[in-house]
């Protein structure tokens, strides 16, 4: 933690460091433990199912008490930098009592389903929906797995690397704007070919 943003001598730094060593002893057997640029721990689990059990273990653990779900997200691992599977699922946990952070990562294949943690954290509901919407990762036992940001008729998953950034998907039943008595013709053909 020698970077700019962290205040010098902040109390949480030493706590996070001792947490990191305890994490190494207690949970890192058979798992890969990394540290990011802020010296926050990144714990790789072996599969998506283990991600859920580990999140649960972390919330219940009397030493770590990661009782707060900061974020669930994912990123595309198309180039295979982090492993063979297609996606990396990321859980950001935080402890409101210990003021420590932990990131749990799981590799998820394209055809594989992840496990919903909505029964542990209701906050995971929308976050998992967003991951599904953006990446197409399905979550088992999710109560309401629908698209959240995109339209329900939308096809494809925009945050996958193969999705072109300029791809447009207009829907047919959009109400046409009234363009006046003599509207200019909008040439949709050229607009289509530009992308």
């Amino acid at each position: 933690m020698r970077t700019s943003s962290v205040a010098p001598g902040a109390a949480f730094v030493s706590r996070q460091e001792s947490f990191n060593t305890r994490l190494k002893e207690k949970f890192a057997q058979g798992r890969k433990l990394e540290f990011d640029k802020l010296a926050e721990p990144v714990l790789w689990v072996r599969n998506a199912e283990e991600a859920k059990t580990l999140v649960k273990a972390m919330t219940l653990d009397p030493e770590f008490k990661c009782d707060f779900l900061s974020d669930i997200t994912a990123y595309d691992n198309q180039d295979g930098e982090d492993g063979e599977q297609r996606f990396v699922l990321v859980y950001q946990l935080y402890s409101t009592t210990e003021k420590i952070r932990l990131r749990i990562k799981a590799l998820v294949a394209e055809s594989e389903d992840a496990y919903s943690i909505t029964d542990l954290f209701p906050a995971a509901n929308w976050l998992e929906r967003e991951v599904f919407d953006m990446f197409g990762i399905k979550f088992k036992n999710h109560p309401n797995l629908r698209r959240i940001l995109m339209d329900e008729r939308f096809t494809g998953h925009p945050l996958r690397k193969e999705y072109p950034i300029k791809q447009r998907e207009p829907f047919k039943d959009n109400i046409q704007f009234h363009l006046g008595a003599n509207p200019l013709r909008v040439d949709t053909e050229t607009a289509q070919s530009e992308k």
Binding site: T3, K37, L69, D71, A123, W126
Partner: protein
């Protein structure tokens, strides 16, 4: 159900759907809530979001780190400075850059100013929704003052783009200390007036007490952060718990409520503005002289005068803006205590000038999810009060 228009069963239909939003003066931005009401009580609610989705995260993978700065303005457009700085901080963390002392203090001033603006908007609009117009005029005058101050800093009012990776785009103007001092002296008087108008006002209390209550347990379960979490009685503030920049050197109190209703959220926001003024006063005293920019060649944007007169500097300038800066491989999750809560940027870099993944963890997303649950059981006018008090900004919600 009977199709007969005179039928009494239809009159007492417990399944009337009422659509709030997405375009309604009481909806703060393009939010949509579908409510199933029984009489006037909301029995079930379903929120629909995405009306303002602009693919900001996807653009983060397409633009260079520098270019993406402008998109952070459009996240929470009420406190653009805060987003700029949080983003600059996250890229600096990735590169291992330590900004200068003066830069840190200026950034803290900016973040607190934007916190004040954001809270002003929330309190004023919440009161406006409930019919208290005077509060709106009183507070918005000071919002304008704050914006004028921001304009003198970076030339823009709403979408500031003030921060740069490794520094700030401009130094503070000459008379800034006096202006900030004047603001810190006079703005709390407006808060006193507002407090006199609302805090013990019978109508305000009736409309806000025990309305939109979020319990402590629910707040934690739904991952709410910021003033709304503190209003529910959880003592959590990243400025104190995981301090960044110069916050440990500053003296301020974390405001914690108890009930988690609209009234408590209003009180927390009001007191937080006072605390921000307190921080600003200390910053104004302690603001050190010295360089604004880091000397790191990778990110330091050269002086314009030198760009126009020296060949090497011109090339360097073009390298930064045309190619972008090279951020080493790695990742960081940088969170700051934004006005609405924990604002995080999770940046995954695989080297090069563009991010591999740019995740914005926005507080509004969590707040609106909790709103969907806590609005149940209340009345429709309560929903309006509740929505105003959690201050959901659609730009941040939909990204």
């Amino acid at each position: 159900m009977s199709q007969n228009p005179n039928s009494q069963t239809d009159f007492y239909n417990p399944n009337v759907l009422i659509n709030l939003g997405p375009s309604h003066p009481a909806m703060h931005g393009t939010l949509r809530v579908m409510c199933r009401v029984n009489g006037e009580t909301i029995e079930d609610a379903n929120c629909e979001i995405g009306y303002l989705h602009r693919a900001i995260e996807k653009l983060g993978e397409d633009k260079t780190y520098h270019q993406w700065m402008v998109y952070t303005d459009r996240l929470n457009y009420c406190s653009a400075l805060n987003n700029n700085i949080a983003y600059a901080m996250s890229v600096e963390n990735l590169m291992g850059i330590s900004v200068t002392e003066r830069c840190m203090w200026i950034r803290v001033i900016c973040m607190e100013l934007s916190r004040i603006i954001d809270h002003i908007i929330c309190v004023a609009i919440n009161a406006l929704d409930l019919g208290a117009m005077t509060v709106f005029w009183l507070l918005y005058h000071w919002r304008e003052e704050a914006y004028t101050m921001i304009e003198s800093m970076c030339g823009m009012r709403l979408t500031t783009t003030y921060a740069r990776i490794g520094g700030m785009s401009y130094d503070l103007p000459d008379n800034f200390t006096e202006r900030l001092w004047k603001f810190c002296e006079e703005f709390p008087r407006a808060l006193d007036e507002v407090e006199g108008l609302l805090t013990s006002n019978r109508i305000w209390i009736d409309r806000t007490k025990n309305v939109g209550t979020i319990s402590k347990e629910d707040a934690l379960k739904f991952s709410i952060t910021g003033p709304c979490l503190r209003a529910s009685g959880v003592d959590h503030d990243l400025r104190r718990d995981r301090p960044y920049y110069v916050y440990p050197e500053l003296d301020f109190d974390v405001v914690v409520g108890s009930n988690g209703d609209v009234y408590d959220r209003y009180l927390v926001r009001l007191e937080e503005m006072r605390q921000s003024v307190r921080i600003l006063k200390q910053c104004n005293k302690k603001l050190p002289q010295g360089p604004l920019w880091v000397s790191d060649k990778r990110v330091h944007i050269p002086e314009k005068l030198e760009v126009y007169s020296k060949m090497e500097v011109l090339i360097h300038h073009f390298k930064i803006f045309m190619e972008g800066i090279d951020v080493p491989k790695g990742e960081a999750f940088t969170c700051v205590e934004g006005p609405n809560g924990e604002l995080g940027f999770y940046v995954v870099s695989r080297g090069g000038p563009k991010a591999w993944r740019m995740r914005v963890k926005s507080p509004s997303f969590m707040l609106f999810q909790a709103f969907e649950q806590s609005v149940k059981g209340g009345k429709i006018p309560d929903a309006v009060a509740h929505l105003g008090s959690v201050n959901i900004i659609a730009g941040e919600l939909d990204r």
